[in-house]
């Protein structure tokens, strides 16, 4: 017997209500995720953006005879507690290198102490009442100012908060990534090409495939242990070096590159392979001239994402010793170096208030690079994507 529209609508109402409820739940969870993301970014930005500015003080530097041995003699004794120790420290060396400067004096903007910096930014500080009063006076006179923090972007790590910079970590990251890319890209792509285009489909290759997929899910710290045991202890690669770190991260990136390359190769339609075989290409010519060029955008995207993942990795690098105090910008692949996440980790453990904003600032730099890399991958995919 058939039903009337009204009867059917009656039944449907409950189903519609149910789907509406599910829709709201899923939208709610999406909103929640978005909210957390916004909170995270807002927190990082509010904490980290001040790190891109730094307090400077205008002062008279008098290059006296005494200053040759004791840099403190060159400064106004009242101002001395407000000036960065790094500025004071270099005075004797500067005079020794340029003896003709002795006897002269010069008004200069110099780096202020991190306490001054924190005071000006309204954060917790340890300045005494008198120091604060003296500082306020100078601020009125326009002799103290917050300026763009070139030290942060232009120098390496330091135990003195105001002269700590991220450059040595950025350079370390770049060198480590170069090693990672040079090792994992060719090996990963060729492995995927072999598995996808040449290997017979048997138990052995299936086992390899399963193991590669599992490799991608292994906790990264285990790769660090592997790197320590094999690269450093067995092969004698220098500890803490971008070479050791890059090789370790290459192990981690390999499965990502292999899997994404295989997916890219599989998305090239067989009709292209048949066409190439049909005109008498050998298997390698088919791959080199036809399949690989078509799969390249997908391979590049996967590799960039794998690299971005490696760039944010800290745990395996702790094991190979890349959490190190590196004041000088790295010069070679075998010298000790540190990377951005490790630098952030180090700063987050510093007790001084000024390092809080350094930590957040470092996170902002890392996030910016990671987001740019991912955006580049998306653009690359959109640009070269091919529909069949």
């Amino acid at each position: 017997m058939s039903h009337t529209f009204d009867e059917i609508s009656q039944q449907l109402r409950r189903r519609h209500r149910k789907s509406a409820r599910l829709k709201w739940i899923s939208m709610g969870s999406l909103g929640l995720a978005g909210l957390f993301l916004i909170l995270f970014f807002a927190d990082m930005l509010s904490k980290g953006l001040p790190a891109f500015q730094q307090a400077y003080i205008q002062t008279e530097i008098s290059y006296t005879e005494e200053a040759q041995n004791d840099g403190r003699q060159a400064f106004d004794q009242e101002l001395l507690p407000l000036i960065s120790r790094t500025v004071v420290r270099v005075i004797p060396m500067e005079l020794r290198n340029n003896p003709e400067m002795i006897g002269t004096s010069e008004a200069q903007w110099v780096l202020a102490n991190s306490e001054v910096d924190q005071y000006l930014k309204g954060h917790r500080h340890r300045l005494s009442e008198e120091e604060q009063a003296a500082l306020d006076e100078r601020v009125e006179a326009g002799q103290v100012d917050l300026r763009f923090n070139s030290t942060f972007f232009g120098s390496g790590d330091s135990k003195i908060a105001e002269s700590a910079g991220i450059l040595s970590a950025v350079v370390g990251t770049v060198m480590t990534m170069i090693v990672t890319l040079l090792i994992s890209f060719p090996i990963g792509v060729m492995t995927a090409v072999y598995l996808e285009e040449f290997a017979p489909d048997n138990r052995f290759t299936q086992a390899i495939e399963i193991n590669i997929n599992n490799l991608a899910a292994i906790p990264s710290i285990l790769f660090g242990l592997l790197g320590l045991a094999i690269f450093i202890n067995f092969f004698g690669v220098p500890r803490s070096s971008p070479l050791a770190g890059g090789m370790t991260l290459a192990l981690m990136t390999l499965p990502v590159i292999i899997i994404s390359t295989r997916t890219a190769l599989r998305s090239v339609p067989d009709s292209i392979r048949h066409a190439a075989f049909g005109v008498g290409c050998s298997r390698w010519q088919v791959v080199r001239d036809h399949v690989l060029p078509l799969a390249m955008p997908g391979i590049m995207t996967g590799s960039i994402i794998g690299l971005a993942q490696a760039m944010g990795e800290t745990a395996p690098l702790i094991i190979v010793g890349m959490v190190a105090f590196i004041p000088d910008v790295g010069a070679s692949f075998t010298n000790a170096a540190t990377v951005m996440p490790a630098q952030i980790f180090t700063w987050s453990g510093e007790p001084e208030q000024a390092f809080v904003e350094k930590t957040a600032g470092g996170i902002l730099v890392l996030l910016t690079i990671l987001i740019s890399l991912n955006a580049f991958a998306v653009v690359l995919r959109k640009k070269f994507e091919r529909r069949w």
Binding site: P200, D201, S271, I272, R273, H274, A275, A276, F277, G278, V279, G280, C281, S282, Q285, D289, H290, L294, R386
Partner: protein, 279 residues
């Protein structure tokens, strides 16, 4: 079977190495000789004891209902079945006195002499020029740029495509219409100067006008090449083919001069099929 029938999987075929004769005159040059060909996909036998002689500079059509093995057989002729791991082949496929399945036979060399055009037009995602020039360059058939230009023009002219594309050779091959793409694929195949061109339902993805163009083209191409085409369309076989082989369930039921086959089929099954009773 008609006494004029030149061929077949029976006593009419001359001994191996002997020419086909009609009134004691050699009348056909053999292109490919197939003897006792069997093929399995895993455990399923797809081709069953095929015997057939294919002739030079003729169009031979392979017809039959879906799944009868005609495309599989076609792919045996340039060993494209090698690409399918589960396929096992037994029997003789002889070309130019050589067994193409012999271990010593290089499949790349074979495919250079036996070109192929596929069901769906599949130009390389490169320029029209590059589509044609790629294979000759790969096989070292051309050394200078001028030679290459000449060869591309010749191949495109033979495929009847030159006038349509001569002003846009650098545009992608995939920008052409379906029928033009298929002719580009034909140009690509003939650019390496093969002896045989295999066509696997070359017009099934095309509209009637493009189909007619390709059929005319096949008629011209047979002056230079041996053409073996698979078709679902019996009218097409009747129009273009000099010889027709009727496949059914992995066997060749009948192979004969097309006119004879379509007017007086020897077997009941053939008659039923070409009169549209099944298939």
């Amino acid at each position: 079977m008609n006494s004029q029938a030149p061929v077949m999987n029976d006593q009419h075929a001359p001994a191996v190495g002997q020419p086909y004769t009609r009134n004691n005159q050699a009348c056909h040059d053999l292109s490919i000789r197939v003897r006792d060909l069997n093929l399995w996909y895993g455990k399923n036998q797809a081709l069953n004891n095929l015997n057939i002689d294919l002739f030079q500079k003729n169009v031979t059509a392979l017809i039959g209902p879906s799944g009868c093995g005609k495309s599989t057989f076609l792919r045996c002729l340039n060993r494209m079945n090698d690409l399918i791991p589960s396929v096992r082949t037994e029997g003789l496929v002889e070309m130019d006195g050589r067994d193409v399945n012999a271990p010593k036979m290089d499949e790349v060399a074979l495919r250079r002499r036996v070109g192929m055009v596929f069901q769906k037009p599949n130009p390389f995602p490169k320029s029209i020029y590059e589509n044609v020039a790629y294979a000759p360059r790969m096989h070292d058939l051309v050394s200078r740029k001028a030679e290459q230009d000449e060869l591309v023009e010749k191949a495109l002219r033979s495929a009847g495509l030159w006038n349509e594309v001569k002003d846009k050779l650098q545009e992608p091959g995939t920008s052409l219409s379906g029928g033009q793409q298929q002719r580009l694929c034909i140009a690509r195949a003939i650019a390496v100067q093969p002896d045989v061109i295999l066509m696997d339902e070359p017009t099934s993805a095309l509209d009637p006008i493009s189909t007619a163009t390709i059929e005319d083209l096949m008629d011209k191409l047979k002056e230079e090449f041996t053409i073996i085409t698979v078709t679902h369309n019996m009218q097409q076989a009747a129009r273009v083919a000099d010889y027709t082989a009727f496949f059914h369930l992995g066997e060749i039921i009948e192979y004969n001069d097309t006119k004879v086959m379509f007017s007086t089929p020897a077997k009941k099954k053939t008659e039923d099929y070409i009169s549209g009773r099944y298939g």
